[in-house]
């Protein structure tokens, strides 16, 4: 099988997820070629043909142009599969390619079992195997699901590509993530609040436990989206990636975006009323209880030690 890997590049850097695509191809024993909108000064460590469009001309984000460039390469390479990261770049571009080529698209692949891709369902509570009915299949890979066992090596054979298609949208640059606030990456203990705190006043319960354990408090996305906590306290894909000695997840179901930000913690305690919550998959200890009852009792006992 031959697959085309769609590498990612942003703000002058090749994204590490590029090598997850290579790892996926290795896992399914596929021959590969790679596509990248980037620059010649930052090439992936990869042995194979790299179709390279100049991001200074095309723009790092431009779905219309990237789509046309990719369709041109697919016509030349005739792969059976086109592989993206399941990222803001990949999930935007992949459906445009799958529709143009009449291909099935299988999103957020976490595994391949007997040649069949597996994806999460219902906030990762369930798994689903999906069979493609088309000759060409487009897949997007969940961040972190596939990894190389060794450091990547190699030098690509660069094939330059360009297009003269006119863009549908105007991309005018980036806005940096909000700076300032708390640096959770230095905390040895983090106690995080999730949707289970139910109302903003209950954040004090989480702060109380964080204080008793000599740590900082963090939050999951829904808590930050509701403006109950500032963005600098958000743990996850669009917030901070942390690796404390102890991570206590209170009322956090464990969406993949959150897990990606905290799964390197040394010891994980989850407090949740739902015994089946996906957070249980990464927790060393799951306390099945209502955080609003349990956390104040725990805090009081810790404070009187």
């Amino acid at each position: 099988m031959k697959v085309l890997l769609v590498a990612e590049y942003r703000e002058g850097k090749l994204l590490g997820s590029t090598y997850e695509l290579v790892a996926f191809a290795e896992k399914i024993n596929a021959r590969t070629a790679m596509f990248l909108v980037g620059t010649e000064s930052v090439l992936p460590q990869y042995d194979g043909t790299l179709y390279l469009a100049d991001s200074n001309k095309v723009g790092e984000f431009n779905p219309t142009l990237h789509k046309q460039l990719l369709l041109d390469v697919i016509a030349r390479e005739q792969p059976q599969m086109v592989v993206f990261s399941h990222s803001s770049y990949g999930w935007d571009l992949a459906p445009r390619i799958s529709l143009a080529l009449g291909a099935a698209q299988i999103s957020e692949v976490v595994d391949v079992v007997d040649g069949v891709p597996v994806v999460p369902v219902c906030n990762a509570k369930l798994r689903r195997q999906i069979k493609s009915n088309t000759d060409l299949t487009v897949v997007t890979l969940q961040a972190g699901a596939f990894g190389l066992s060794n450091d990547p090596v190699g030098t690509p054979t660069v094939e330059k590509i360009s297009t003269d298609v006119v863009s549908q949208v105007e991309f005018s640059g980036y806005e940096a993530a909000e700076a300032g606030g708390v640096d959770l990456s230095k905390a040895t203990v983090i106690v995080s609040a999730g949707r289970g705190i139910a109302k903003p006043e209950n954040l004090a319960i989480i702060e109380g436990l964080a204080h008793a354990l000599g740590g900082e408090y963090g939050a999951s996305r829904p808590v930050v989206d509701s403006d109950w906590a500032e963005h600098s306290r958000q743990v996850g894909t669009t917030g901070q990636t942390v690796s404390p000695k102890l991570y206590v997840a209170c009322g956090i179901s464990g969406a993949i975006q959150h897990l990606a930000g905290m799964k390197k913690s040394e010891f994980v305690v989850a407090i949740n009323t739902d015994k089946d919550a996906p957070i249980g998959e990464v927790a060393d200890v799951l306390v099945v209880n209502d955080l609003k009852t349990f956390v104040p009792i725990l805090t009081e006992k810790l404070n009187s030690l």
Partner: protein, 257 residues
């Protein structure tokens, strides 16, 4: 201005799920149903846009069995003008391409200036349907927006990127945008608006009138993931649990030293 917002009814994600007898989807009995969370942001943004431009007609669209009308009523109570329901008891078996084809089949000759969708659904989570609808209608699409502004026919948005940064993108209407969590603060329908929504029209269309393509993929198996071994599950009285946990933290970590 004509605005369309597409919503999906999904189970509450805290539900106890069971696999259906065919082993291809979750069993849909004994579930609490609600609006897909991403779509709540889409509805709110559409209602805000209507409020901003004044002279606008806002349609909420959904596909599924009769029960999805309950979720559509919430969107009507939030401020949509009327609903279009595509009746389909088997919508859960349709793939993203078929769902997008149904929506595009409805929208293609209606002249919508703005189409809002969620960036993905909470149950299937393909993140494909909104982008596919735009491509089928040959409209520009900007996905994963966390900020939206409209002025004189031009849409300016921020797309959320990994790491918390944002890409600044603009485009002239007509355009489709897919909405990410945190885009706005979805309103709670007020009681008077819930009463008013009861009088708003929901037009029903049979799915066969809009669907003329076959699925490009199918579910071969749905199942629960294997639990990671080693994790200890503690249940019981909160006071006892706290004592047990403190002992574990003493034994296994250095944070109480």
């Amino acid at each position: 201005m004509k605005i369309l917002v597409c919503i999906k009814q999904v189970p509450d994600m805290e539900s106890k799920f069971k696999v259906n007898p065919e082993g291809t989807w979750y069993d849909n009995v004994d579930l609490a149903w609600r609006m897909n969370e991403y779509d709540e942001y889409a509805v709110e943004q559409a209602v805000q846009l209507k409020g901003q431009v004044g002279d606008a007609d806002l349609t909420v669209f959904s596909i599924g069995p009769n029960r999805v009308k309950e979720t559509m009523k919430k969107a009507l109570a939030m401020g949509c003008d009327h609903g279009v329901h595509v009746a389909d008891d088997d919508s859960y078996q349709k793939d993203p391409f078929q769902i997008a084809s149904i929506i595009a089949g409805f929208a293609k000759d209606k002249g919508f200036d703005l189409i809002f969708t969620g960036m993905q659904s909470q149950d299937r989570g393909s993140a494909q349907v909104g982008v596919l609808v735009a491509e089928l209608l040959n409209l520009p699409c900007i996905s994963t927006i966390v900020d939206f502004a409209y002025l004189d026919g031009k849409v300016s948005v921020k797309r959320e990127l990994e790491g918390g940064g944002r890409a600044l993108v603009s485009c002239n209407a007509p355009v489709l945008v897919t909405c990410q969590l945190g885009l706005n603060v979805p309103r709670y329908p007020t009681l008077p608006n819930i009463m008013k929504a009861k009088k708003k029209e929901i037009l029903s269309i049979e799915v066969a009138e809009l669907l003329n393509v076959t699925a490009r993929q199918e579910t071969s198996k749905l199942y629960f993931p294997e639990k990671k071994g080693g994790g200890l599950v503690l249940e019981g009285d909160a006071g006892d649990l706290a004592d047990q946990l403190i002992k574990i933290l003493r034994d296994k970590t250095s944070v109480l030293a």
